[in-house]
Symmetry: C2
Subunit: 388 residues, 2 copies
């Protein structure tokens, strides 16, 4: 177990508290990160339907495909009687669905008939799964949990922050390896080989786990877009490469982005790099408990505006525990309109991506909120890395 | 572009043909692999809503987050006017959703009002996205596409099979590296570092892309469950490790599973390994155009039954193009009840996983169907690998 059993119980208690506030009788958690948060279960089984059932009272239940039940026994703190495997014959069939089985289980256990909340914007609850569950629970009111467990996860415990700090030590190594690997003539895939090896090996103290997103390393004209992965074409002199990477330790993430230029960078790139770095400092300086998410973005916006720049997309989001396809927690965003007040123990990936017509620049830091302000988890030089 | 433009046009034509057969006017494709199949678009942007719109007539349209539109321009064959970016302010908000915008676009382009098919069991169409789209398309009949593009993908072209064959060359190296890396005292994460580096580097001719699933390597009692990833604990003498891995080249997969034992294996393991290998041969021998998916499984079932063994889960599924979280195509399965006839050009991952109370064994092959029968893509010894 990654955490003391008491910590898992506290997580469930805080989840139930929020359920009570919203008069939710039963919560079905299908987001793998939230399932892991509540139970410790870890495995790549989220490609078939599964979930954790939290009732206002009573024990947690985890349901998954029959073949994955052993994995839940091995990795979660749940007792055997709390782990339910659905029959193999329900997997990927057109005329039946595992969620019909899950609905029947809820009824059998007296958990239907009230208000059941689902994670309606989860990757791992399809419309078909949703409709199958609704149809099997007549007389039950189905509501959107609105990322309920995501909000419980927003403030990290000391034990969670310690895991993120270990991920940060890995991340510092990963970025060093990545910057070393990007050289003219080197195939992108060979640089990724070095990056992924560093991500997995981690440090002697803390092994690496798989990040929720693979290395993203747009290069050349590709830097005009985020989220590009790689090819087997070589890096070229006279081009920039954005390295948006993460390290992960026991499912806890520390993402970091830097930009590298091979050769003499054009003035527009060095100029934007300086402005973005200044903007990052302004935004980080605005972080303190009680400040709102939007006020942090406003500090950035004001600074880059003075240099004639603007950015329409958010500059960060809550981060921590994650599974593919996203290390973001889908709760807080650093952007106008998000009036969530910051609290000590929250953690964010502040990602400043500037994507132009045919070029771009990225810089990011993962920070946690402390009583004294933002504390960046990594120590990696921030400026444009120029390799001549 | 990975394929000739003509091949993309043929894919769209075959998609429209199936749409006509089912009286579908507009298909909204949200599965990243199917989006890629139709357009060539490649990027890790599927964590926010996006889709490809196929109308019975007219050009394809791709919609994605505004910041990802450049990525679609760079990687797809679509013209600029076919790529639509939705505003950043719609991303991860509680009071609005990108699919409302998508619905309005369909109406504006005269694509609403008829029969619109959605991929109702897609990971990347949430119930909230589905409801937002439905609500924004009054008077439109929404139906389940039932993996329509997945079925178009079932028979691979020679160009696609060539990519899978290159992935197989990578896979042979990856398995060699993996078997070498599993040694008593070696941390699991360090073995994964070697595996992932081999996956990414690929061969001198073909670089590696990221597989849809990270390395799975249950070890010790963990072999009683599939889908276990890794920790930083060391491998131990006297224990088995299952290596279920894949290589990927330009999004095309070749998965392969083998089992390694460190030391002298117990008799139950060597016995099951021999039976499973014999069962694999029997199942492969049953493969020929016109044979059904279930008949292949029946050959396996009959053979292991003679040795007193049974397996409740399917023994394989269609494989090829894939994105996380699954390299399986969610169409054909090798199991009772699947009466799909095999055709030359189909490809399957035949995975024989035997999960017992506290131990297990896995063996797999990726094969394609040819006029002469099954042709395995990799050449890797099949028996239990014993390292003394």
């Amino acid at each position: 177990m990654t955490f003391a059993r008491r910590e898992y119980h506290e997580r469930a208690a805080r989840t139930r508290e929020r359920m009570r506030e919203r008069a939710i009788d039963v919560l079905v958690v299908t987001e793998p990160a939230s399932m892991h948060y509540l139970t410790g279960y870890d495995g790549w089984s989220f490609y078939t339907p599964q979930g954790v059932v939290v009732a206002a009272d009573g024990e947690l239940l985890l349901f998954t495909r029959q073949m994955d039940a052993n994995g839940a026994r091995l990795t979660s703190w749940l007792g055997d009687e709390q782990i339910l495997g659905f029959p193999e014959e329900l997997v990927q069939q057109r005329d039946r669905h595992p969620m019909q089985w899950a609905g029947a289980e809820l009824i059998r256990r007296g958990l239907a008939g009230g208000v059941v909340a689902l994670e309606m914007d989860s990757y791992f609850l399809s419309p078909r799964a949703y409709e199958a569950l609704c149809a099997s629970l007549p007389g039950t009111r189905i509501v959107d949990s609105e990322e309920l467990v995501g909000w419980v996860r927003a403030v990290k415990s000391p034990a969670e922050l310690e895991l993120m700090s270990r991920a940060a030590r890995i991340m510092e190594r990963v970025m060093r390896v990545a910057i070393d690997a990007v050289e003219p003539g080197v195939r992108q895939c060979d640089a990724v080989a070095a990056i992924m090896a560093a991500q997995a090996s981690g440090t002697p103290e803390a092994g690496g786990d798989y990040p929720a997103i693979v290395p993203m390393l747009p290069t050349g004209v590709g830097t005009s877009a985020p989220h590009m992965t790689w090819s087997d074409a070589p890096f070229r002199a006279g081009e920039a490469t954005v390295l948006e990477l993460a390290a992960c330790h026991r499912r806890y993430h520390c993402p970091l982005a830097r930009t590298v230029f091979l050769g003499d960078p054009p003035a527009k790139l060095t100029t934007i790099a300086a402005v973005v770095e200044e903007g990052l400092e302004a935004a980080l300086a605005a972080v303190r408990p009680g400040a709102t998410c939007e006020s942090v973005e406003a500090a950035w916006r004001a600074l880059i505006g003075r240099h004639g720049l603007e950015k329409s997309s958010r500059i960060g989001y809550s981060v921590g525990l994650g599974y593919p396809p996203d290390w973001g927690e889908h709760t807080m965003s650093l952007r106008p309109g998000d009036t969530t007040p910051l609290e000590a123990g929250m953690a964010f990936h502040m990602i400043l991506g500037m994507w132009m017509d045919d070029w771009g620049f990225e810089l990011s830091e993962t920070f946690r909120v402390t009583e004294r302000g933002a504390e960046c988890l990594c120590s990696v030089p921030r400026g444009l890395t120029v390799k001549r």
